[in-house]
């Protein structure tokens, strides 16, 4: 294959598993351009390894999100305000 046809094919060749892997974060962000997005979907639909990987990758993100805590110490705000009042007063 000539260098020119190889270059021409580069943009159209099928994605490898490694290519698909590189696009995962951009895919979840919805940041892939239309063409890349189509090629990505095509690979995922055909490749059980990547499709299962994507599934568990998304579960990983969900699990991180689920560890989010809402319970800052109840006295946190009062204590912080107290500290700031003292410090700002001292510097006035």
């Amino acid at each position: 294959m000539s260098i020119f046809s190889r270059l021409r094919n580069l943009g159209r060749r099928e994605l490898t598993c490694q290519d698909a892997n590189t696009f995962l974060a951009a895919y979840l962000d919805g940041a892939l351009d239309e063409q890349t997005s189509e090629r990505f979907a095509k690979h995922i639909n055909r490749c059980p390894t990547c499709s299962s990987y994507l599934n568990d990758y998304e579960s990983t993100v969900d699990l991180s999100r689920a560890t989010r805590v809402q319970n800052a110490p109840p006295e946190l705000v009062a204590e912080t305000l107290e500290f700031l009042r003292l410090r700002l007063k001292a510097e006035d």
Partner: protein
């Protein structure tokens, strides 16, 4: 469930008067402190991994933000700027704390999938869906795994995946490109996934 839990995650309460705050008004400043303390505390605590240290860095962050308010340029949201200050202070402090459980760069690298000729080498674990059901124990495992991530990766997972701050804003907070945020968060997720394989597969 308190109503706080339903609060939008990407847009914290904007219940303060920014112009008043920037001109030095203490009430506007305190309103901002009330609205931002809990979330910022949780972010800082994940970086320094210590409650008392997180508390004192939170206080210092607000103090510095107030003193340096003149340098806020309105090119980003005020909270984006505030988070950048908090994260920088937390990074400075974390060096003093023990990080025995944190993965070394080599250990982290070994958790990334390896490719030869575009194909993944070695077995790829597949998670069992029923493992997702043992919720509390599972979340403890996830927390522990996140704590072991090297600092840069722990920070990006905290901001992007836990706090759900959009990629462009994370990029501004950390002073890196959006592409760099995605690369970093991707590697962090892959390492986390691998750390959880043992439990999930």
């Amino acid at each position: 469930m308190s109503s706080r839990q339903e609060q939008s995650t990407s847009e914290p309460p904007a219940g303060f008067d920014l112009s008043a705050l920037l001109s030095g008004d203490h009430k506007a400043f305190e309103d901002m402190v009330r609205g931002e303390s809990d979330r910022l505390y949780n972010v800082i605590r994940r970086i320094v991994r210590d409650d008392d240290e997180a508390r004192s860095i939170l206080q210092e962050t607000f103090l510095q933000a107030f003193k340096r308010r003149g340098s806020f340029r309105r090119e980003s949201k005020f909270t984006t700027w505030l988070y950048a200050i908090g994260i920088n202070l937390a990074r400075g402090a974390v060096r003093k704390l023990s990080r025995s459980a944190v993965l070394t760069a080599e250990e982290f690298e070994r958790l990334q999938p390896q490719f030869v000729d575009g194909h993944v080498t070695g077995p790829v674990a597949q998670w069992k869906p029923d493992r997702m059901l043992e919720r509390q124990e599972l979340l403890d495992q996830v927390r522990e795994a996140i704590e072991r991530l090297p600092e840069d990766y722990r920070i990006v997972v905290t901001l992007r995946d836990i706090e759900e701050i959009p990629t462009p804003e994370v990029a501004t907070i950390l002073g890196i490109s959006e592409g760099a945020v995605r690369v970093r968060v991707h590697r962090a997720r892959q390492a986390l996934k691998k750390l959880l394989d043992e439990y999930m597969a």
